[in-house]
C-alpha cells in the first residue's frame, strides 16, 4: 500500500509569506511527474479487487436442507428471548423464506403460553412471515403447550425438520416436546446468543436481591425511582455480591444497602444493560423501611423503669426492621409515621388529631395494660374497635378460678397466619368487650 501512495507524492501545501520571492524559480532536479506503467497496473488490479469485493461474492454457500418435508419453527417467546429477539426473528424468517422457495409447508409455534391445545396448522411458509414479524416476546416465562402429540396430530407427510430457537432456560414440557420432535425428524436447536440474567427479590427483615446469570459477569444493579423533584432516575447502583457457581449458573446475592430515605423511594431494580422483564424487579413493601411511632413510655428516663416499660418488647421486635419514633403523641404525629402504636394509653390530650390521622388512613395499633384496665371512663374511650368493660378479669390469681391458658394456633388465612405460638405464653389478665350484637364482626379473625 505504501507503494501505491508513494509515487508521485502529493505536494504538501505550505503557507509561506515569502512566496513572491520564489516566483519564477525553476526546480533544480525535477522529480518524475508521470506514473510508471507497473504502478498503474497495480492500481487497476486493486480497483478491480475492490469492485469484486463489493459485489458480495459468497464463499462456500451454506448447503440448504435437502428435504422436502414440512418445517416447524419453535420460538421460545418468554422474557429470556427478549434481548436478541430481532436476531431470532431474522433466523426464523430465513428458514421460512427458504421453505417457501422450496414449496414446503411450515408451521410456527410461539411458546408464549397463549397457544391453546389445538393442533398446529401447517401452511405455505410465506403466509407465516407476517405473523412472525408481528410476534413479540412476553414478560413471563416461555411455556410450551402441554400435549405435543395432540399438537402434532395434523402433521403432513414427510420427514419433519424442526428449527428450535431456544432461550437457554429449562421449561415444563420441554423434554416431552424434544422427544416428540426427534422421533419425527431432525431437530436443529439454536442456543441464545448471549448469557441469560435474571433478578429476584427476597423480603424479610433485611430484604436482598439475587442476580442469577449463566455467565460470571457482574453487571451493576440500578435502583430506579423518583428523585426529590419527582423525576424518575437512577437513585443508586448496587454492586453484586460474591458469586457462587453451580452447574453453570452463577448466583450473586446482593444486599440492598441504601439509606432508608433513598430505599423508600425506589420503585424498581434493574440489571444494568439488560432489556427484558426478567432483569426488572418492582420494589414493593418488602423493600420499604417503615417508620413506626411508639407512644406509651412517659418515664423513659427513669432508670428503674426500663424493663417495666410497656414499650420494651415492642422496641426489641420492631427496631431491626423499621425506624422508631418515640415521644408524646403530638411529637409522634408530627414525624409522619406509617403506623402508630399506643401502649396502655387512655384519655390523651391529642386524641382529636389522632382521630383525624386515623380517618385519613393511618394504621393505629393499641395495646391494653393495667392503666387501661383501671381507667374509669373506659366505656367512653374513643378509637377502640369495641367498647371495653372497665376492670377486666384476672385468671390464675388467688381470688380466681381456673388455671391460665395458652393460645390456640392461629388460623392459616388470618393476618397472623404463619406465626408459631410459643408454649410458655399464657393469658393471665384480660380486658373484656361489652357484649354487643356486633362484637364478633369488630374483632379481627385469629
Amino acid at each position: 500500500m505504501l507503494i501505491l501512495r508513494a509515487v508521485p507524492p502529493a505536494p504538501r501545501q505550505v503557507a509561506f509569506p515569502g512566496v513572491a520571492l520564489l516566483l519564477g524559480l525553476a526546480d533544480k532536479t525535477p522529480v518524475a511527474r508521470r506514473t510508471p506503467w507497473w504502478l498503474l497496473l497495480l492500481r487497476l488490479l486493486a480497483v478491480a479487487a475492490l469492485i469484486l469485493a463489493f459485489a458480495g461474492p459468497v464463499w462456500k454457500p451454506v448447503p440448504r436442507a435437502g428435504t422436502d418435508g414440512p418445517l416447524l419453527v419453535v420460538m421460545d417467546a418468554g422474557w429470556a428471548a427478549a434481548p436478541d429477539w430481532a436476531g431470532r426473528q431474522t433466523r426464523a424468517e430465513r428458514a421460512l423464506t427458504e421453505a417457501a422457495s422450496d414449496g414446503r409447508p411450515a408451521a410456527l409455534l410461539l411458546a408464549d403460553g397463549r397457544t391453546g391445545p389445538k393442533p398446529l396448522v401447517f401452511a405455505p411458509a410465506d403466509r407465516l412471515l407476517a405473523r412472525l414479524r408481528a410476534a413479540q416476546p412476553v414478560s413471563w416465562e416461555t411455556a410450551l403447550p402441554d400435549d405435543p402429540e395432540a399438537a402434532l396430530s395434523e402433521l403432513p407427510d414427510g420427514s419433519l425438520s424442526t428449527l428450535w430457537l431456544a432461550d437457554g432456560l429449562d421449561h415444563p414440557n420441554r423434554a416431552e416436546w424434544l422427544a416428540a420432535l426427534t422421533s419425527r425428524g431432525t431437530v436443529t436447536v439454536v442456543p441464545p446468543a448471549g448469557p441469560v440474567r435474571a433478578l429476584s427479590l427476597h423480603g424479610g427483615d433485611t430484604p436482598s436481591l439475587t442476580l442469577i446469570s449463566s455467565d460470571d459477569a457482574a453487571p451493576g444493579i440500578l435502583a430506579i425511582g423518583p428523585d426529590p423533584q419527582g423525576i424518575e432516575r437512577e437513585l443508586a447502583r448496587l454492586a453484586p455480591g460474591d458469586a457462587a457457581t453451580e452447574a453453570g449458573v452463577t448466583t450473586r446475592p446482593t444486599a440492598i444497602d441504601l439509606p432508608p430515605e433513598l430505599r423508600n423511594r425506589v420503585t424498581r431494580f434493574q440489571v444494568e444493560g439488560e432489556a427484558h422483564a426478567g432483569a426488572v424487579v418492582l420494589a414493593d413493601d418488602r423493600v420499604k423501611r417503615r417508620k413506626v411511632g411508639l407512644v406509651g413510655d412517659a418515664d423513659a428516663h427513669a432508670e428503674g423503669q426500663r424493663l417495666l416499660s410497656p414499650l420494651y418488647y415492642l422496641r426489641r421486635a420492631l427496631a431491626p426492621t423499621s425506624d422508631l419514633a418515640e415521644g408524646g403523641l403530638g411529637d409522634v404525629l408530627d414525624s409522619a409515621p406509617d403506623v402508630i402504636i399506643l401502649a396502655d394509653q387512655v384519655d390523651m390530650a391529642e386524641i382529636g388529631e389522632l382521630a383525624e390521622w386515623v380517618d385519613a388512613g393511618g394504621l393505629l395499633i393499641r395495646f391494653a395494660g393495667p392503666r387501661m384496665a383501671g381507667y374509669e371512663g373506659l366505656v367512653d374511650e374513643p378509637l377502640l374497635p369495641v367498647t371495653l368493660r372497665q376492670g377486666g378479669r384476672d385468671i390464675g390469681g388467688a381470688l380466681s378460678w381456673g388455671e391460665p391458658r395458652g393460645l390456640e394456633p392461629f388460623d392459616t388465612d388470618g393476618p397472623f397466619a404463619g406465626l408459631a405460638v410459643p408454649e410458655d405464653v399464657t393469658v393471665r389478665a384480660q380486658l373484656m368487650a361489652q357484649p354487643l350484637p356486633n362484637s364478633p364482626s369488630a374483632a379481627l379473625p385469629r
Binding site: Q13, A15, V19, A20, L21, L25, D27, K28
Partner: protein, 289 residues
C-alpha cells in the same frame, strides 16, 4: 496570536523597561513651532534658565541680563534652554503575510511588529516625545500609549498580502518608523522615500521575519501559497530552491538598505526567534542619532 490591548501593553512595557528615556537629536527642530515638553540641553527658545554667557556681537541690548551684569564688569546674556518636541510616526504593516508564524511556540510577525512599535512608542513617550500612528494625530503623555495599543490592535488587516503606507500621510519634520516584512513588491517605498525627502522626514525601515523565511527549511514537493492565497508557487524539489531563495532575500535586503541610505534613512531586520529587546535597542540607538 490574538492579543488584547492589555496583554500587548504589558509585554511592551516589559520589553522597554530597561531603556532610558530617549531624547532625539534635534538638528532641525529649532524651527518647530510647537512648544516642547522637554529641554534639549542647549541654549535656544524656551522658558527655563539654561546659562549666563558673556554678551557678544549680535546680542541686542534687550537681551542683556542687567542684574547679573551689575555684579561684574562685563555684560551677560541670560540663555534659556531650547525646548521642543519631536514627532514620531509609527506604521506597522497589516498585510496578511504578517499573520504568519513558522512554529506554534513563536509569535507571528504581526504580533512581534506591534510589540516593537508599542515598546518604542513607550520609550519615546517617556522621553516626552509626541508619538502617533501614521495618519493619526501624535500626542505625548502616558495615556497616548493606551491609545496607540488600542490603535495597533484595532487596525484592520489588509485584504491582500500587500500593505503600504500612504505618502500623503507624511507631515514635515516627522520621524517615521516603518515595520514590515518587505516580502511583497516594495515599489511603493521609492515613492514614499522621495516624498519623505521633500518633506524632510527621516526614518527607519525595520524588517521583521520569521526564522522559516530566513532558513527556508522545506524539501520535497511543496505547494507554496501566500497567506491570502493569491500567489502560489508549485515546487517538486523545495530543497533545491533554498540557495536561490536566500540569494533573492539577500538581494531584497541590499536593495532596501540602498534605498534607505540614499534617503538618509536606516534599515534593520529582526527575526521572531530573537529577543525583541535587541531590535528595540537598535531602534533606540538609530532614532537617537
Amino acid at each position: 496570536m490574538a492579543l488584547t490591548t492589555t496583554e500587548l501593553r504589558a509585554q511592551a512595557q516589559a520589553a522597554s523597561a530597561h531603556l532610558p528615556g530617549l531624547i532625539l537629536s534635534a538638528e532641525r527642530l529649532a524651527a518647530m513651532v510647537a512648544p516642547g515638553a522637554h529641554g534639549l540641553r542647549r541654549a535656544g527658545p524656551g522658558e527655563d534658565f539654561w546659562q549666563y554667557r558673556p554678551a557678544t556681537h549680535g546680542d541686542t541690548a534687550r537681551s542683556i541680563d542687567w542684574r547679573r551684569s551689575a555684579r561684574s564688569d562685563s555684560q551677560f546674556v541670560r540663555d534659556r534652554e531650547a525646548q521642543t518636541a519631536q514627532t514620531v510616526a509609527l506604521w506597522v504593516s497589516g498585510g496578511q503575510g504578517m499573520a504568519y508564524a513558522g512554529a506554534p511556540h513563536r509569535p507571528n510577525k504581526g504580533a512581534r511588529a506591534q510589540l516593537l512599535a508599542l515598546a518604542l512608542a513607550m520609550v519615546l513617550l517617556r522621553g516626552g516625545e509626541r508619538v502617533g500612528l501614521l495618519g493619526q494625530p501624535a500626542r505625548s503623555g502616558r495615556m497616548q500609549a493606551e491609545r496607540l495599543a488600542e490603535g495597533l490592535i484595532r487596525a484592520a488587516p489588509a485584504k491582500g498580502d500587500e500593505d503600504a503606507p500612504s505618502p500623503e500621510a507624511l507631515r514635515p519634520n516627522q520621524h517615521l518608523v516603518i515595520i514590515s516584512d518587505f516580502l511583497t513588491d516594495p515599489s511603493w517605498l521609492e515613492a514614499l522615500l522621495t516624498r519623505a525627502a521633500a518633506l524632510d522626514v527621516r526614518g527607519v525601515l525595520m524588517q521583521v521575519l520569521d526564522p522559516n523565511e530566513e532558513n527556508f527549511p522545506y524539501s520535497g514537493a511543496v505547494l507554496f501559497r501566500s497567506l491570502s492565497g493569491a500567489v502560489r508557487h508549485d515546487s517538486r524539489d523545495a530543497a533545491g530552491l533554498r540557495e536561490a531563495y536566500q540569494a533573492r532575500l539577500a538581494g531584497r535586503r541590499d536593495w532596501l538598505r540602498a534605498q534607505a541610505e540614499g534617503a538618509g534613512w536606516r534599515f534593520g531586520h529582526h527575526t521572531t526567534d530573537h529577543a525583541p529587546a535587541l531590535a528595540l535597542s537598535w531602534l533606540y540607538q538609530v532614532l537617537e542619532g
